[in-house]
């Protein structure tokens, strides 16, 4: 594990503790896998590995309805697959949900199969009136509890995009283009 990834996970661990997270669910892409590994290893979080991302967003909705702080973690492609459920469950019923999602398809992401997600996912969220933020560095993870509270005020899902610079490599060529 790199020095950067170690520091990132330490900051994520602190944010999860401050969130008081009780339930998490998710399905990883290669960028979010360390976050899910971390959640799976925590003894104080009931973590669910799902077969499809829409399960995760419904699970955290159910946890919210019990008063248990919760979050779902997934890749950008996974989020794209569950826009229907977010619209017809969360937006329809005014249910907040904290969604931590890799920000794929940015200029520092060289994967051709992520290109459409980079161009169209945020406009799709805007069309559904689902707010989103982005966290681009380790220090920004301290803002996750505030993001959770803001999502509750909004009474709808809140997507926090986690950049490649945060999840993988802040020194990678192209990182400046993604800011």
């Amino acid at each position: 594990m790199s020095v950067h990834e170690t520091a990132m996970l330490e900051a994520f661990d602190a944010a999860v503790g401050e969130l008081g997270l009780k339930v998490s669910a998710g399905l990883p892409d290669d960028w979010t896998r360390p976050l899910l590994d971390h959640l799976r290893g925590r003894g104080d979080v009931a973590h669910v590995d799902v077969a499809r991302e829409a399960e995760a967003v419904a699970i955290v909705a159910g946890a919210f309805l019990t008063g248990a702080p919760s979050a779902a973690v997934m890749g950008a492609t996974g989020l794209l697959t569950c826009l229907g459920e977010l619209a017809t469950l969360h937006v329809r019923h005014h249910i907040p949900a904290l969604l931590l999602v890799s920000e794929r398809g940015t200029p520092d992401d060289g994967r051709i199969y992520q290109e459409v997600q980079g161009r169209r996912l945020k406009p799709a969220l805007d069309a559904l009136d689902i707010p989103w933020l982005r966290v681009d560095d380790i220090d920004g993870l301290r803002a996750l509890p505030h993001a959770q509270r803001w999502g509750r005020v909004q009474k709808r899902p809140l997507v926090v995009f986690l950049s490649r610079a945060l999840l993988r490599d802040p020194e990678a060529p192209g990182a400046l283009l993604a800011r």
Partner: protein, 201 residues
Amino acid sequence: MKTREALSRLTPLADDSVVVCSLGMAANEWWAVTEDDEAFYLHAAMGFASSLALGVALGAPDQRVLAISGDGSLSMNLGTLLTEARNAPASFVHVVIANGVYQTVGATPMAGRADTDHAAIAAGAGIPWARRVDSLDEVEEAAAELAGSQAGPHLLVLGVEAEDIPIVPPPQPYEGAEMKYRFGRAMERRLGRQVFGDEGY
């Protein structure tokens, strides 16, 4: 057997359970039988009532949660059986109303129709208690067994007949945000803790 008769035999099991219903026949018929205004009735997100119910169960692990789905809904999210098998509490009960059709859009045949063995699929997914019942006596027996069971998670398949009933809108007199608040307030009373916070959200 008919869906409404079968569900009526499950009401003793529901008396001390948190109930989440998938859209369509499951929600409509459960409302017709119980008029339970503390259950959560999905009107969309087809297939994901069981996932919502799993989240409820994990957030309130000392409660028995009863998820009620149609077989059409289960077909939309068969992966839920894998997830339930590994993660749902031992008291969790997933009821599947199996008639082989999309009842609320005019009994349109669904993939697999009546040939699908949902209990076998669930057992194959690792759910330790998976059973199909085809008579009202069997429903009553299963409900009695499930009431005290910690041998789950469980999947109970109700083998019911497709019915020629009119297409109707959801009969519950509330939806959207009110559904959230009714269910959440009921959970607050049941659990003795806040769901919505001091300012009501």
